[in-house]
Amino acid sequence: MRPFDYIRPTDAADAAERISGAGVKAIAGGTNLLDLMKLQVETPKVLVDVGRLDMASIAEDGAGLRIGALVTNTNTANHARVRADYAVLARTILAGATQQLRNKATTGGNLCQRTRCTYFTNTDQPCNKRKPGSGCGAIGGVARLHAILGASDQCIATYPGDMAVAMAALDAKVHLTGGATGERTVPVRDFHNLPGQTPWQENVLETGEIITAVTLPPPVRARQIYRKVRERSSYAFALVSVAAIIAKEGGKIARADLAFGGLAHKPWHDPRLSELLVGETPSPALFEKVADTLLDSADARGGSDFKIPLARRTLIAVLTEATEDQL
């Protein structure tokens, strides 16, 4: 690890002010940043430890819920209202990492965790995300974990996290402070960027801007499912994952919010899927059509082509499960 200065800010405003220079990074749980600092993928000169700021509580937000940026993944998944009303969120968190890591991982750090592309984490390899202009080792390389939707000729990495997939399905909002426009709110669905020509700009955070909380909308009565397909049954990142919030009324689908992990540089949400599903009677033909639509622009490079049929089957299995036992 390269040497750095370690400072503890007094409050969120102080933190944002201190982070406003190049080479200064926030650290919360540290489980992603320190991992990357040991590999010298990240080489900050100053670490601003936001870990003790007053952003570690969960509170009612109207009929919804406000989860502070420093609430640990464990405390979110354990929260009585999350278990009762936002089961899909608890499920995504519990499907990620391990108890030790979830005890440390925070809401803000989890949203900002970086890709698990092995060319990104190996400083001997070319990587446009780590070193702009150096090329992309994964394109034409070993790319099993890589994107099949929304990738670019610069970067085919995926966003690896689980929690944000539920937040995208729930249409949660990220609250930010410290940027040029002061406080602002961004839907989780718009928080992460596609790689385009600037794969190093992974999300909409400006320099100095920090996440203060995520708010969940009022709960809906619906079937909530998270299906994560991975190479071992625990302690592995998703190859493909589906978060689904689905309600039926009088035999027809009344609500269908879907989001996907492992497919793209961001939690993937395609508004066309709800349009196809809502108002329809569930059937295998309908689900096939939804899968066709999700994957109509799918493009796999080499090793990740298996994800196309895997995403199709996982989506259809989840839609079937979510609709078969509801009236």
């Binding site: 370690y6 320190l34 991992d35 499907a95 108890q99 030790q100 890591l101 005890n103 440390k104």
Partner: protein
């Protein structure tokens, strides 16, 4: 003014170099070598300790982040003369071969028993509000502790015994 970290009940001065991980602090500054370094990247669990009673990977955190907090390591759970229930159960059930992963396994399992008592759910819980003590649950909750020797069956038996009988 220098900060301190409490380790197994006694205070230790924070290292001057901010780069020191909690794991290296415990092993090289405090001299407690029970806590092991397997991967140094959060992937194996050999470095598991309890901080304010909560299990974490000590390799992926800085000592500097834990000023005024209380760390419990394997040495703090029991001694050869007065082992904890889990330490005894690991001996009885042969819950190890080389022993390298064992301190992490026992710290993890110690926290696991508290977590089950507090009804924390896991990925293996069918009902998020009523986790059970099935083998599947224990395995999932211990999935952050790898054992290269493959002593898993005996580790499971040791944890199950303490969970069920309290000793």
């Amino acid at each position: 003014m220098s900060e301190t970290i409490k380790v197994n009940g006694s205070d230790h001065l924070m290292p001057a170099d901010a780069r020191v991980s909690l794991l290296d602090f415990l092993r090289h500054y405090v001299g407690l070598t029970g806590t092991k370094k397997g991967c140094d990247h959060g992937q194996c669990g050999a470095c598991t300790v309890l901080v304010d009673g909560v299990r974490i990977n000590s390799c992926l955190t800085l000592a500097a982040m834990h000023g005024q907090q209380e760390v419990t390591t394997i040495e703090g759970l029991g001694t050869p003369d007065a082992p904890s229930d889990l330490q005894k159960a690991f001996l009885e059930h042969d819950g190890f071969q080389c022993g390298y992963c064992t301190p992490g396994q026992i710290c993890s399992a110690t926290a696991l028993l508290d977590e089950i008592r507090a009804e924390w759910p896991s990925d293996a819980s069918d009902d998020l509000n009523a986790p059970s003590l099935s083998d599947e649950e224990i395995r999932e909750r211990m999935s952050g502790n790898l054992c290269r020797c493959g002593a898993y069956a005996n580790i499971l038996a040791a944890i199950r015994q303490v969970a069920e009988t309290g000793a």
